[in-house]
Amino acid sequence: MVSYIVYSIMILILPLLLMGFLQKIKAKLQNRIGAPLLQPFFNVLKLWNKTQILSEDASFLFRFGILLNFCIATYLILSVPWLNFSPMIMGLDLFLLVYLLAAARFFNILSALDTGSPFGAFSGSREAALSFLVEPSLVLCLLAPGLLINSNVMSEMFAFKTAVNSDNPAVWIFASLGLFITALVELSRMPVDDPNTHLELTMVHEAMIIEASGRNLALCEYSYALKLTLFFGLSVQCFLHAVSAFLPSNEWLTLFFSVIGMFFLAAVLAMLETVLVKLKWTKCPDFIAYALTMGMFACIVALRGRT
């Protein structure tokens, strides 16, 4: 019980730390000093106490959508298994995961369009288009380990060193890469969307929350960080499974390794965002095709490996 509580607190603190780390590395790479590591915490606290400005055209859905989005993100982060750590909330399977993410997206889009703002609406329609492109790759990347382990329950899929024929590194590596690219699209990071701009008509995520302020914005930022942790966590876990032969089996140690891995991914992302430029909107499907290809490779290898 104690370990569950410790774990839950850790997993709820980690997202903001990860965001701070990401910003810091990005600043260093761009020869800036950058904000302190704990800046996201300060931001959320500051926003929490600020006055929220609501649009006169907004209905209850605007704030309720943001809240529901946050609750779903928290639910997901507490129910995704973490290597040997069985989660707080059992019984998450991969289709439930995908559809919960879809539910979060649904309410995101609705609250973006609720105020009648053309900015929010544009980004809402883009988000819907991106999600339709990226969802198949997410499912394929998660199906491949499932096919390998013969189960679609997440806690069995990601159970460490217990599964029968999980020693198929190729599947895990493809899945890991596919999930990372999927994460870039789902979280609207660099090649698809620039998280730093706020006034460009090509933006996706930032424009969706353009009407949010005060507590609503704090919730938006925090649920975004939670989602980042979720995706990076899945990707890192897949990678750790690929190299499971070299890892100790102590659960706290593997947890430590996966946290290190997530910070590593954040550093990779920071580098990508320094080097890459944003893709033209019409080129995004080509980029997403990489994730789909990774997912397909993973599934094919899993099918071949089984028979």
Binding site: Y75, F95, F106, L110, D114, A121, E211
Partner: protein, 625 residues
């Protein structure tokens, strides 16, 4: 006489009374809906009792249908379907008595008469146990639903829709009758219980019956009639047609093909391929529609496609024999039929309520209805969330079961089955993401933002009966999710969100109401909002060959690049199937008709020469044999 028979008679009697009560004078207006509800309750009792003691009823002479007597028999499937039918009749009657409130009482009477006939024939077509009775009831069902489609016959569009629908049902009936003849030829009986499909000798019958059923339920490429008919029909009838009538053919297919030991692989593949195509086709077209009822109609194509697809895979599993997977998929199939009936009816009733208050169902003329019609908004939101199968609601429960079955199938050793299962999972995932886009577009354009026209700005909430009927269906959408183990914690998190929300309301000091951010350009007008077309544009461009998607932009002005005086964009979509296949087909058939018409020139001399020719031909034939 068993309880089942008593309630069957009671249902029949009360429906007949309902039909008669239509002719009462105008001040007894409420009698008909009340009797309708009563017969729905009797029907429910009948279907519950018939689950334990099945109905088996033969009406002997003097009533005789030429080849077979009037004969009804129920099984679990048809009883369950009758239960669903009666369950939906309650909200239907509640809604209709408020919706069909026109001055012209002839119209009201016509509506109640045809809907009574429609409901009765729909329920009894599944209970009929021989082919002749089945065909008669099937025809009554088709014609009464066509009459319902035509019941708002003010416009040319409605007439056209009714004509298209009628021709589709003609073809379907012809195919099914042909199929029954072929089945009689191979099994030498008109009784359904003697028919055992699956062998090689009955393949023709199977194909004909399958095609007829697919036309009737609106599967690709026969879905053309569906958007026209559902758009033209009054909303409550559209709810019944989409929620129930579309499933009758599917239930028939299940009864004919799934109950036996041997299974035809060919039919299974037809069902899988057509189901998969119509799943994607329906959802893509539903995304680009601007009419609320058309959006729902195309999404019915999607859902029926999904049901057909599951049926096909179920049959495939039974062939191989993988009974475990087949039973999971069968359960999922029935559950989805049930759920789709509920949430689609809810959405059609919502569309009807909006039409009643604003007199339009073009979503680009709506907007901002969340303030004026909060009840309808809430129920439509629940129905929409169920339609794109978001977790705690009923749509997710059945879709999850379908995925579960498919995943089990993917774990099979046979690589072909694995690949089929994975492809189907991908199709369902893509369709799910697209239907999410469709629903979020619809809800936000209709209910959010500022009203786009005066009608939607001045709309008021509809009366209590309409909201109650939607509420019943919304509760039915939520209930299955409550009993789903997976979503126990999910409900807790939804509850958390609601509690949080309530808690936030108290902090009024820290809130300011201000206009939507407009880049400092001054107040946003209602025209400066997202339209239905602009929301679907990124995805529509992706599928432009299928949709024949075109955008024509016209910018005029002296310095038209920097200071345009007038910007006009027009966007058009058209179904490639309709343009490339059906229109040429109709042109061809009518041209052929003109040529054949020449035979009937109206001249007695030509007719006499026909007689002579026939005589000569017959004599020649006689000589040859």
């Amino acid at each position: 006489m068993t309880l089942t028979e008593i309630f069957a008679v009671a249902t029949l009697a009360s429906i007949t009374l309902t039909q008669l009560s239509v002719f009462l004078p105008g001040k007894y207006r409420l009698v008909t809906p009340t009797l309708f509800c009563l017969s729905a309750l009797f029907g429910m009792a009948f279907s519950i009792f018939s689950l334990s003691s099945p109905l088996n009823f033969v009406l002997h002479s003097p009533v005789f249908l030429g080849l077979m007597p009037v004969q009804f028999a129920s099984n679990c499937l048809s009883s369950a379907f009758c239960l669903l039918l009666c369950l939906l009749l309650l909200p239907f009657a509640l809604f209709s008595q408020s919706y069909i409130k026109t001055k012209n009482s002839l119209e009201t009477r016509f509506f109640w008469l045809t809907s009574g006939l429609f409901v009765l024939s729909m329920g009894s077509v599944l209970l009929s146990s021989n082919a002749i009775l089945f065909l008669i009831l099937w025809e009554v069902m088709s014609l009464s639903s066509a009459a319902l489609v035509a019941s708002e016959m003010f416009t040319r569009n409605t007439a056209r829709a009714a004509l298209i629908y009628l021709s589709a049902t003609r073809v379907a009936t012809a195919l099914i009758a042909g199929g029954f003849l072929a089945a009689y030829y191979s099994f030498k009986s008109w009784n359904f219980c003697d028919w055992h499909f699956g062998g090689t000798n009955s393949l023709l019958a199977e194909i004909l019956i399958t095609l007829g059923c697919l036309i009737k339920s609106g599967i690709w490429p026969f879905h053309i009639w569906l958007p026209y008919a559902y758009q033209a029909a009054p909303a409550p009838s559209a709810a019944l047609m989409s929620g129930l009538m579309g499933k009758v053919p599917i239930i028939i297919l299940i009864q004919f093909f799934l109950g036996h030991s041997s299974h035809s692989l060919f039919i299974a593949y037809i069902l899988i391929v057509l189901g998969a195509i119509s799943t994607l086709w329906g959802v893509i077209f539903s995304l680009v529609q601007n009419d609320l009822k058309k959006i729902l109609a195309y999404s019915s194509v999607e859902n029926l496609g999904m049901i057909t697809l599951t049926l096909g895979i179920c049959q495939l599993c039974k062939h191989y024999p993988l009974d475990g997977v087949a039973s999971v998929l069968f359960a999922a199939l029935l559950f989805h039929i049930f759920n789709h009936a509920i949430f689609k009816s809810l959405l059609f009733l919502g569309a009807g309520a909006i039409y009643k208050q604003t007199r339009t169902s073009n979503i680009n003329e709506l907007g901002g209805l969340s303030r004026n019609m909060p009840g309808t908004f809430l129920f439509f939101l629940i129905g929409g969330a169920a339609l794109c199968s978001l977790p705690p609601l009923n749509g997710f429960c059945s879709k999850w079961l379908i995925y579960e079955g498919l995943f089990k199938l993917a774990l099979n050793k046979d690589i072909t089955l694995c690949v089929i299962a994975l492809l189907v999972i991908l199709v369902l995932i893509i369709a799910g993401a697209l239907s999410l886009a469709t629903v979020s577009k619809t809800i936000s354009i209709v209910f959010s933002g500022r009203p786009r026209t005066k009608h939607s700005g001045q709309a008021t909430e509809c009366d209590f009966a309409i909201n109650l009927s939607q509420g019943i269906l919304a509760v039915l959408c939520i209930l299955p999710g409550l009993f789903c183990v997976q979503s126990k914690y999910l409900w807790i998190s939804v509850l958390f969100a609601i509690i949080f929300y309530a808690g936030f309301l108290k902090q009024n000091k820290q809130r300011k109401i201000y206009s939507t951010w407009e880049c400092g350009f001054g107040a946003l007008s209602s025209r400066m909002q997202q339209t239905s077309e602009s929301f679907s544009q990124p995805i529509a461009v992706f599928f432009s060959p299928l949709l024949r998607y075109k955008i024509v932009a016209e910018i005029t002005g002296k310095d038209r690049r920097h200071f345009p005086e007038r910007v006009k964009t027009e966007q058009s979509t058209q179904s490639v199937l309709e343009a490339k296949v059906y229109t040429p087909l109709v042109v061809f058939v009518s041209a052929l008709g003109r040529h054949i018409n020449r035979l009937q020139a109206g001249s007695i001399h030509i007719y006499l020469s026909y007689l002579l020719l026939t005589l000569i031909t017959l004599i020649c034939l006689e000589l040859v044999w």
